[in-house]
Amino acid sequence: MSGLTGAPATGDAARPKIEVVGLAKRYADVDAAQPAVLERIDLTVAENEFVSLVGRSGCGKTTLLNIIAGLIAPSAGEVRVDGKAVTGPGGGKGMVFQQQALFPWLTALQNVEFGARTRALSPAARRREAEQLIDLVGLAGYAERYPAALSGGMQQRVAIARALALDPQILLMDEPFGALDEITRIDMQHELLRVWSSRRKTVVFVTHSISEALMLSDRVAVMRAHPGVIAAEFRIDLPRPRQRTHAEIVALHDRIWRHLN
Amino acid sequence: MTTLATLLRHPQVQGLSFLAALVLGWEVAADVGVLRPYQFPAPSRVVEAVWEIATSGFPEGVKLTTHGLVTLGRILQGFLLAITLAIPLGLLIGWFPVLDRMTLPVITFARSVATLSLLPLAIVWFGTGELSKVLLIAYGCFWVMLGNVVAGVKYVDPVLIRAARTMDASGLVLFRRVVLPAALPRILTGARVSLGVGFMVIVGAEMIGTIRGLGALIMEARTFYRADISLAGIAALGLLGFGFAIGLGALERKLLPWHRGLEDVRR
């Protein structure tokens, strides 16, 4: 948080990047007795802050992320980025999905170049930028491979590079490591922190893994289902990289676990 | 007003009303003479033609049910002949890789031979009667079926075979209890596709040397400048084809309750 000026009045940083205000989502065709997917969601994310949304499957965390991305419209309330209401996807919000969402007909490098498509760069500069990003995520030598010829971990590295290629101010990540095995997953967490430290972004990270959230985030929002609400928030003021066995991490893990039940 | 608006938002309502509008437009255009009646007989004329074939028949005495049953009978005879030969042969070829490699070029070529190109040869060898038609259908069905049976056996997931072997299944038991069920989806796909082929072939085959059958009906009607009868026959063929698709889909669901269908998996 070194780049911020002025003393924050509350626990949050001075400049809110994302504000979620009174948000609710219910599906019209479902009968009214059903609890809403999301209800009374308020969340503020400061600039360059890393916030995780944690919850069981079905608690609406992915829906919330999709609404922040502008992919889904809320039933009530709104999402503001830099004080302006979000009306649709795009516009500096990069997203990494849980499933394989690379374009299978493009090579790794072409996928990343595709992300940089809307930036005012010459084709040569765009290619250089894509190559740099491929290097940044540790895939030098795999640039010409098609996604089908990459492992799951490598595919997600490309997906991160592609999202970064937009040069977004906000990076939205929907369980990006959810489909990976545990060892690859821990590697990817380190990798993400390394990338994040060189290209600071405001990150909203959805996960169902408490420890993943604790390793990565400045703040963890715990969500509960039926209706989907934010049940609690926890701030983690520990330097990174963190130790899984650190006393405070273990204690937080316990408290979050209790909030989930 | 609002109910009409909600109704119009329904996809089927939109589509069917558009279709109805087209048919109505066709009717009006034919009635006022914009469309020439011998080329585009009005839909009402086609309906009357259906009635005419169904009651008095066309040619006189050969009724719609006769045409339909004759066509259906030819397809089924050819199809049954084909699968009776293709299933055992395909199982054999699929199970022994050497046979598969030896027969691959022959099967590939025989499949690319357009079935109806054999029509002149069939006429020379077997005359213009029923036998020619049934054999042509059998030819078309046979190669499609054979290809699918072979592929079904050949591409059984090796994991299944290994799993069965760990349970001491071998030889005929392995074949009957594991290979055959695992190959069944493809075999049924083969049956469906080959029936489709038979259905296509019969229409062409019936256009020569017969006055019975739906293919003969539509061709015969043309020589009498009865486009309305032709269109009625085409509609009957469409109905028959639709019936095949429905029936085979139901059969597949009944025979393969555990199988999600190749189409579903692809998505």
Partner: protein, 255 residues
């Protein structure tokens, strides 16, 4: 696959093919049937090549290929355009769906009499029937491709500022390409089957006409030659189309 395995497979295939030809040859020579009705392959093909002048043969093949290419290109193009438009823009899809579903089960050959009524006995009637044969499989598969796209790919495109036609052309269309390719191959095969039938019934040129005419002259050799030529033409063109598809899509999609 290693080279030696490929050679072994080719050798086995050759043995199988020769065995079939030998069986035919033997059955024809010593089976007791008249060689006029059931000639051995050697004399059938050689004899036919002597009887039919080369330029006539080439002429028939050319006109057949011309018809099939015209009909196929028209049918496939319209099939792709309509399916993509209908699969993408819901209202268009709603309007065209029942019409297509109604016409699809009708075998293309059933339109031959109407094609003659509408277009006469000239080229257009044959091209029209081939057009129909190509249209439906291409339409059906392209539709499946466009409507079956993994939504996450579309969302990914949207997060990268793609909307409307850009999303269609940059994401939906490439994603639907494998299905479109499948439709094209099926459509091509069907076009071939239909072409011959159309030429058998209503033509005075083309490969189908050639063999039907040979029947009237009781020239079995020419019929056999024609059948083999039609099969070979189908095989070669299908292989070529497959090769193009593999080159274009094989890099990223298992074909």
């Amino acid at each position: 696959m290693s080279a030696s395995v490929r050679w072994r497979d080719a050798a086995l295939g050759g043995i199988g093919t020769l065995a079939v030809l030998a069986l035919w040859e033997a059955a024809a020579r010593w089976g007791g049937a008249s060689p006029l009705v059931f000639p051995p392959p050697s004399t059938a093909v050689v004899g036919a090549l002597e009887r039919v002048p080369g330029d006539v043969l080439v002429g028939h093949v050319t006109i057949s290929l011309q018809r099939i290419v015209l009909g196929f290109v028209a049918g496939a193009t319209l099939g792709v355009v309509l399916a993509v438009a209908g699969g993408w823009y819901r209202i268009l899809g709603n309007l065209m769906r029942p019409i297509v579903e109604l016409l699809r089960p009708i075998p293309p050959l059933a339109w031959i009499p109407m094609a003659i009524v509408w277009f006469g006995l000239g080229e257009s009637s044959k091209v029209f029937v081939i057009f129909l044969a190509a249209f439906f499989p291409v339409f059906t598969n392209a539709w499946k491709g466009v409507t079956g796209i993994d939504p996450v790919l579309l969302r990914a495109g949207q997060t990268m500022d793609l909307t409307g036609p850009a999303l269609l052309f940059k994401v939906a269309l490439p994603a639907a390409m494998p299905d479109i390719a499948t439709g094209l191959r099926i459509g091509w095969g069907l076009s071939f089957g239909v072409l011959v039938a159309a030429e058998l019934i209503a033509a005075d040129s083309g490969m189908g006409y050639m063999i039907m005419n040979a029947r009237q002259l009781a020239d079995v050799g020419t019929i056999i030659l024609g059948i083999l030529m039609i099969g070979a033409a189908n095989l070669v063109t299908d292989w070529a189309i497959g090769a193009v598809i593999r080159r274009r899509l094989g890099t990223w999609h298992p074909v």
